[in-house]
């Protein structure tokens, strides 16, 4: 009896999912037949006017840090919340990490890699408005440094080099900096997170110092994401 019960339960779930799939198939088919591709005036505006309005030639960056910068503040908050949850839910336990000791090749290569990672991360952050990259990607690359240290030389060393408290504070500073740069817009008589609208000089598109406040927002997000991801990784790996 029990087996029949299990099988029927499984069939029920499969049926549920298959009917959802058929439903989605019909919806997607209908939507696709509507020829709605012509309705792109918002993105057309971004593409045609974005470079003049924001000064950044990477339009994704200008959408993320200028047109829809408020979304970015929200997602930065989500990341900060996640890091805070992890650091209190799975806190420091003085316990040795399991894992094989690496040979000298690994530890030496890690040392060689770290400066390159730092340069690459910096490049991605500072050139976020000119080339693919930006604060998030650059922050992830920066976060790789403590993560590599954790993997090769254990958690204790990584925590000794980058103190957990310092990481938390720099994450908070990144978030506060983002809001403060946004408040500059209000100070100059425009709205929150305003950039070109607040008469910030946008510079020549394509230069390193251009696009108004976008590079500084990028730096803040870079700091925040780097510190946040390092906290998240170390918290997860520390538990035995």
């Amino acid at each position: 009896m029990n087996r029949i019960n299990v099988i029927s339960k499984k069939l029920y779930k499969i049926g549920l999912v298959v009917s959802l799939a058929i439903f989605l198939l019909f919806i997607f088919y209908d939507i696709h037949n509507l020829e709605s591709n012509s309705k792109r005036y918002l993105s057309d505006h971004y593409i045609s006017e974005g470079v003049q309005e924001t000064g950044a030639i990477n339009i994704v960056t200008s959408v993320l840090y200028d047109y829809r910068a408020f979304d970015t503040l929200g997602e930065a908050t989500v990341l900060l919340t996640a890091a805070a949850i992890l650091s209190f839910l799975v806190p420091i336990t003085k316990d040795k990490m399991r894992g094989t000791p690496f040979t000298i090749i690994v530890s030496q290569t890690t040392q060689v890699f770290i400066p390159f990672l730092a340069i690459l991360g910096m490049y991605l952050i500072f050139f976020g408005h000119l080339a693919p990259g930006g604060g998030f990607v650059g922050g992830v690359v920066i976060a790789l440094i403590p993560i590599l240290l954790t993997i090769t030389y254990r958690v204790e060393f990584s925590e000794y080099k980058f103190k957990p408290d310092k990481k938390k504070v720099s994450e908070d500073i990144g978030a506060i900096g983002f809001v403060l740069i946004g408040l500059l817009g209000i100070l100059t008589g425009s709205n929150f997170l305003a950039n070109g609208q607040a008469n910030v000089s946008l510079g020549d598109a394509g230069e390193l110092i251009s696009a108004g406040l976008i590079p500084y927002l990028n730096i803040m997000i870079g700091i925040k994401v780097g510190a946040g991801l390092a906290i998240i990784f170390n918290s997860l790996i520390k538990e035995k």
Binding site: H32, I47, I59, A82
Partner: protein
Amino acid sequence: MQISYIAVIILFCLGIYTIISNKNIIKMVMGFTILESSLILLLILISYTPGGTAPILDRQYEIVVDPIPQALALTTIVIGGSVTAVMLAVTIKLYKRYRTLNVDKLRKLRG
């Protein structure tokens, strides 16, 4: 209708099925990751225009793909990653308390 949209549907339903049918917490978290990636794939697909280049306007261009879904995709990735991290943290905690990953065995709360 392009075949890639069917991939989105398959991934989405696979994710849902993984979540509702699996008893293992880690596999449920994997289901959420699959679900998230299906939505990111959908975002990338709707931004695509045939022959379009990446929305970085430093040289001559004719067709550019839609930049908004790419920005939304970045937001979705960050939020999804944060949620996954929190879920894994709760999973670690639950495993430490109950020494099991089976959902049925840790149901202390009923009713």
